[in-house]
């Protein structure tokens, strides 16, 4: 027998059905929020993964470019302007073109062709599973991301495929370059990429600038903006953020995810409020008895609050366990889910906050209890 007696815990476990309903409600809300935010962060990671894995401090794009995947080309000769700016150590070109890959069984598939400088590797795949990065220099060599096999069919080194009527050779398989557009990513040399889309000839899509030691990126950006009057100049983080913002705000994705997350919070709040409130009503006489026995209002409120927090903690723990399973299954399907500790901390705060808010409504009701209630038969 434990002393002091935890009336809150005892009350909670006494009514098992109510407890199960409460915990299901809370954990459902927890899982919904964790998965939705995790999937959203995974998608956002996808949108900016190439930018963030590229060793360039500054990105130069065509004017009014809103994101990475749908960038417009501009003359590659503009590279020289950038090179002449003080504080610029190096400038690398990166091209991104949309093209069509012919499928072995017939038909074709849209692909995003990323052309990078194979000598420096800047802008190329960052995680090779097989093959070599440098091999893209020869015989229209391409590196295919493994996530594209579901759309393009299985491929191995040495295979040949056709992109925009031109034969290419698979020289490598990479990992982690999944795009939010769902189009498979094909890495190749800058030159080959230009050949695979006629519109890209003589043009580049991005210039990636490395800041020379001893110079501050902000100052170099300011200088570049003065010189590159027909282009936009961003720091790497700015460009990644701009791309993520585009997908969040301009595609309805942010609204969709935001709405689902909000629904998770509301569903959790409603179930928690309802169960905690009805539990309070059911125990009003007990609270009255406690007060008659000499418990202060604070003690009674503390009891209701502890009951709510306990529900929140248990519901969150169950939700976390379910989340581990769901997130694992999701990743098994080849998708990316990102759940940093801040997400767990935030969701925990939301869950406990909701439970506390729900208990405050109950406390308000408990305050209104007629003192004579204890004498009613």
């Amino acid at each position: 027998m434990a002393y002091p007696v935890s009336i809150a815990r005892k009350n909670l476990f006494h009514d098992r059905v109510r407890l199960v309903i409460t915990l299901v409600g809370i954990s459902f809300s927890v899982v919904l929020i964790l998965i939705q935010v995790g999937v959203y962060l995974g998608m956002m990671y996808n949108t900016a993964s190439i930018i963030e894995h590229t060793d360039g401090d500054i990105w130069i794009t065509a004017r009014n470019n809103r994101n990475f995947d749908f960038s417009l080309p501009f003359p590659e000769a503009r590279e020289n302007k950038a090179k002449a700016v003080i504080g610029v150590e190096s400038v690398k070109k990166l091209i991104l073109v949309w093209s069509l890959m012919k499928l072995p069984g017939g038909g074709s598939e849209n692909v995003e062709v990323v052309g990078f400088d194979p000598d420096s590797g800047v802008g190329g795949p960052w995680e090779m599973e097989a093959g070599s990065l440098a091999d893209v220099k020869y015989n229209r060599g391409v590196i295919v991301d493994e996530s594209s096999f579901s759309k393009l069919g299985e491929m191995k080194i040495g295979d040949h495929r056709e992109i925009f009527g031109k034969k290419v050779r698979v020289v490598g398989i990479c990992r982690g370059a999944r795009r939010i557009t769902t189009a498979p990513v094909i890495f190749t040399s800058y030159k080959t990429a230009q050949q695979l889309n006629p519109m890209a000839r003589g043009a580049t899509v991005f210039l990636m600038v490395k800041v020379a030691p001893g110079h501050r990126a902000e100052e170099v950006i300011a200088r570049l903006r003065k010189v590159m009057r027909w282009e936009d100049v961003y720091s790497r983080d700015e460009f990644a953020w701009r791309t993520q913002l585009y997908w969040t705000l301009n595609t309805g994705m942010g609204v969709g995810f935001g709405f689902t997350i909000l629904m998770g919070i509301i569903v959790g709040a409603v179930i928690v409020s309802q169960t905690i409130y009805s539990a309070t009503i059911e125990h009003l006489r007990e609270f009255g008895t406690l007060k008659a026995l000499g418990a202060s209002n604070r003690t009674v409120y503390g009891l209701i609050l502890r009951q709510a927090i306990l529900s929140g903690v248990m519901g969150f723990a169950i939700g976390m366990a379910v989340n581990v399973v769901v997130a694992h299954l999701y990743e098994q399907s080849g998708q990316i889910i990102i759940q940093p500790w801040q997400l767990f901390a935030g969701d925990f705060a939301i869950t406990i906050g909701t439970c506390i808010a729900a208990s405050l409504i109950s406390v308000h009701r408990a305050m209104q209890v007629d003192p004579m209630e204890v004498f009613r038969a």
Binding site: T289, G294, S296
Partner: protein
């Protein structure tokens, strides 16, 4: 102790019901002494429970004074009343008012917990109280597994363990058969005589009158010194 443990001086309680003014208790005066069992009897709706609520510092009187152990508690602020109840008053309710989720022992421990009795002392005290009411073998039973009489004994044990000098009982035998009811009253009388407690019982059960030291009669909010009431008195239950 020479003076009364509990004393009412010209106490009234007035409720407003819409435009109507309802006088539930009308200038009641009485003194309750240690080691006595006083029964406040009268028909339903006569104001007995309202009077008991004022004695128990649950309800404030509209007028008059309540003295507990010589202290005028009507002058006390709202925040000090729970402490006074905790230290000096034990309640026994008609519907037992036990915590459904707690065992008999845990129910008895609740007031000790509120009084911050140390862990080394509280469980032993609670067990002793349950033994005192004949429930030593029922300590781990939940209220749903106890009979009505046993529940009321747990309720009494709760008051016993708290060592409150005043025990206020509201219709303690109403939900019990006559034999169990008598046992409960005998138990309350024992507490008064053996432990010097001041026991006030509100009831309209006339069988009680032979087992108490004093009877007060209440009717239409007026409290007066009572006498033995014939079992056929209208408005009261036999």
């Amino acid at each position: 102790m020479s003076g009364p443990t509990l004393e009412l001086s010209q106490v009234s309680k007035v409720y407003l019901s819409g435009a109507a003014r309802v006088v539930a208790v009308n200038h009641a005066s009485a003194a309750f002494h240690a080691a006595t069992v006083t029964a406040i009897m009268g028909p339903s709706g006569s104001g007995k429970t309202t009077l008991l609520s004022m004695l128990g510092l649950i309800l404030r009187p509209s007028d008059g004074r309540v003295h507990l152990l010589g202290r005028d508690v009507t002058a006390c602020d709202e925040r000090s009343l729970p402490g006074l109840r905790r230290e000096h008053i034990g309640f026994i309710f008609q519907s037992f008012n036990l915590f459904a989720a707690l065992t008999a022992l845990e129910n008895v421990l609740v007031p000790l917990q509120l009084k911050k009795i140390a862990k080394a002392e509280a469980p032993a005290r609670a067990r002793q109280a349950l033994e005192r009411v004949g429930l030593a073998a029922r300590t781990d039973f939940h209220p749903r597994d106890l009979s009505g009489g046993e529940k009321q004994r747990v309720s009494i044990a709760r008051a016993v363990a708290a060592e409150a000098p005043v025990i206020l009982a509201d219709e303690p035998t109403a939900n019990l058969d006559s034999r169990t009811g008598r046992q409960i009253i005998d138990l309350l009388a024992e507490l008064a005589r053996d432990q010097g407690r001041t026991v006030v019982v509100v009831s309209h059960d006339l069988r009680l009158q032979d087992h108490v030291d004093r009877i007060l009669w209440m009717e239409d909010g007026v409290l007066q010194e009572g006498k033995h009431v014939p079992m056929t008195e209208p408005g009261v239950s036999p």
